[in-house]
Symmetry: D3
Subunit: 141 residues, 6 copies
C-alpha cells in the first residue's frame, strides 16, 4: 500500500492540534473530572509533551468516537486497568470516571469482581480496595 | 471477624453444586456458544476439576449476577483480555461472546482500539487482528 | 458435547454452598490465618459477593483437593505472586501462609530468589523485601 | 488548572491531521520499512481509526521529537517489547526497525540478553529466538 | 556498605566459570532433559553469551542450592510461568522438568488449576493445554 | 549437542567468583551509585545469595560486555522497567543510573513518554512521576 492510497482514505483534515486539544480537555473534564486534571498538572512541567498527548490522543481522538457510550468506555477501562494490576492511580482516576458517566457503585464492584475470573483474585481484590478508597473520597468530598 | 459472624451473612444455601453446574452450562452456551463448549471439552479429560470450575464459578456464579448486562460483561472481558495480551485463545472466545450477546463489530473494534491508550498499541493491534479472524470465522460459518 | 454428557460426569452434589463456605473458611484460617481474615473483612461490606467467592472458590474448592500438600500449594502461590509482581498485599498474605503450613524462612527466600531467573531480578528483590517485612511482623507478633 | 492556563501553554497549531499523517507515514517507512506497512495494511479495513492512529500518534508525534536518536528509540522499544513478552509480532517489526536505523546484530542480541536480568530468562530467550527469525528473513530477503 | 565489608562476606572463590558451567550442564540435563538441551542449542550460535548464562546462572548457581528439593523448585517454576502466561515454550520445558524430577501428572494439573485463583482462568486453561501437549509428547516418545 | 561440544566453546575460565564479584561491585557503583548499594544492603542479611547474584550476574557479567555503551544499556533498562510497570523501586534506581551514565533529563523523559505507545499511557505517566521524584532527590542531594 503506497502513500497515495493511504491519503485517499484520509478523513478531512479539520481536526488541527488546537481543536483536538480543546475537545480533549472538555472530554477529560467530563469523564475524569478533578482527578484527571490533577494528572495533567503533575505531568505539565516535567513532561509537557506527555501532558499534551494525554489530552489530544486518548480524550481528543479515541474518546471522541461515539460508537461506544462513555459508560461503556469506562467499563472497558476499569476492567483493563484492574486486570493489568500495575496502575492503581489510573484505576482510581477511572473509577471516578465510571461513576461520573453513569455507572452505579454496584456496577463498578461487579466489573472488578468479574476480573477474578480473567486476571485472578488478587487483581479483583486490589481493584475493590481501590474502589473502596474512591467511594470514601466521594463520600467525604 | 469470627465464623459465626460470617455465617449470619450467608445467603440461603439454595445453589448446590448441580444447580450451579446446570445454570453455568446454560450461561456458557448463551455467551460463548460453540467456542466455549470446545474449551470445556478440551479440558475435560486431562483436568476435570478445572473444566468443572470453569462452568460453576465464572458462569454458574459471577455471570449469574444481573447488576451488569451480558453485553457490559463482555465489554469488560474483551477489554481485560486484550489489555493482558497473553490469552489470545480466550480473547477470541470472548470476541465471539461479545458479538453473541449484542455488541456490533464496530463496538468490538472500538473497545480494542481504546486499549491502545491503556495497554499500548501492540495490545490493540493484536486484539484487532484476533477480531479479524473471529469476523472471518463467523462469515465463513 | 451436550449437557447430558456433562451431567453424567458430575460429582455427587453433596457440597452445597454452606458446606463449601464452612470448609473454605476453615482452610483459609489454616493457611493464611489472621492476614486472610483481614482481607475478607475488608471486602465484606463493599463487595460481599467477592468476599464470599474468595472463601468458597479458592479455599472451599481448589485448596480442598489433596493431590498437593498445603506446603506445595503455598510454594506455587508464592512463586506465582512474586513473578507477577503486581499483588504485593496478596504476596505478603501468602508468605505468612507458606510459613504457617511448614515452609522455613530459608525455603521462602529460596523460592523468591529463584524468581530472578523466571521473572527477573526486580521481581525477586521486591519479593525478598516483602518477605523481610513479613518476617519482622512475625518476630514482633 | 483551568482551560485558559492550558491553552496558553499550547504549541502553535501548525500540525494538522494531514501533516501528522504525512510525517508519520514517512517515519514509519524509515524505521519499520515493509514490516510496518504490512501492519497498517492489515488494520486498514477492519479498524481504520487504529490504522490511522498508529501512523499519526507514535510516528507522527512521538517519533518526531529529536531528543533521542532513532537508534536510541529502537533500543528502548526492543527492550520494552521483549520485557513485556506478549507482543512477538511487534517485537519482530521493531527488531527490523532497530537494524534499519543503525543497530548491529550484536547490539540487538545484547539488548535482548540484558532483558534476562530485568524480565527473566524466558523473555530474553524468546526475544533472541524472534531475532533469529528476523536475521534469517533479512538474509533470505 | 563499602567494598571491604562486602568482600568479607564473600564465599570462598572455588566455583570458577568452568566449574559452574559443568555443574550447570549436569543440572540442566537432570531437570529439563532433551528439551533443555534444545533451547541451549537454539541460542548457541546467535546469542552465545545468553546460552552460557542460561547454564551458569539458573542451573550452575540457583539450582545448586539444596534448600529446596528439585521437585519443589519445579512446582515454583511451573506456577510462575503459567501465571505469567507469556512464555509457553519455557512452560513446556519445565512441565517436562517437573515430571522428570518426581511430580505426577495429577500434581502438575493441580498446580496449573490453582493458577486460576491467582492469575485467572485463561492462565490456568492455557497451562493445562500446554500440559496436554507435553503428556502427549511423552506418551509418543 | 553433548557436553564435550559445549566445553570446546567455553571461554577461558579466568573469571572466577571473586573476580566477577569485584568487577560487578565496581560496575554497580558506577551505574546505580548509592541507590544500588542500598538495594544490596537491604538484601544482604535476609537473602545473601540474591544479594551476591545481583552483583555477580547483572553487573559482573551482563554489564561487562562492551557491545553496548552504558548509556544504551540504561535506555534499555529504563524502557523495560517502565513498560513492565510493576517494579517502581528498581525503575527509580535505574533512572538515577541513566542520569549517572550520561542521559539528560530530557532524554529520560523522552524514553518514558515513548512507553505510552508500547505499554500504554498509565505506564508512561507513572514512569514520569517516578522520574519527577528522582529529579527532586538529585536537586535536594
Amino acid at each position: 500500500m503506497n502513500e497515495a492510497q493511504h491519503m485517499q482514505q484520509l478523513p478531512p483534515a479539520t481536526d488541527d492540534e488546537a481543536t483536538r486539544y480543546r475537545l480533549g480537555l472538555a472530554r477529560l473534564a467530563q469523564v475524569d473530572g478533578l482527578a484527571g486534571e490533577r494528572v495533567i498538572a503533575a505531568l505539565q512541567e516535567v513532561a509537557p509533551a506527555l501532558a499534551r498527548y494525554t489530552i489530544t490522543f486518548p480524550f481528543g481522538e479515541v474518546y471522541q468516537d461515539e460508537v461506544l457510550t462513555l459508560k461503556e468506555r469506562e467499563i472497558a477501562t476499569v476492567a483493563a486497568l484492574a486486570a493489568l494490576g500495575n496502575a492503581t492511580p489510573q484505576l482510581k482516576v477511572h473509577l471516578h470516571g465510571a461513576l461520573n458517566v453513569g455507572c452505579s457503585r454496584e456496577e463498578v464492584i461487579a466489573i472488578l469482581t468479574q476480573m477474578a475470573v480473567y486476571a485472578g483474585f488478587p487483581a479483583a481484590i486490589n481493584g475493590v480496595l481501590a474502589a473502596k478508597e474512591v467511594f470514601a473520597e466521594r463520600d467525604a468530598g
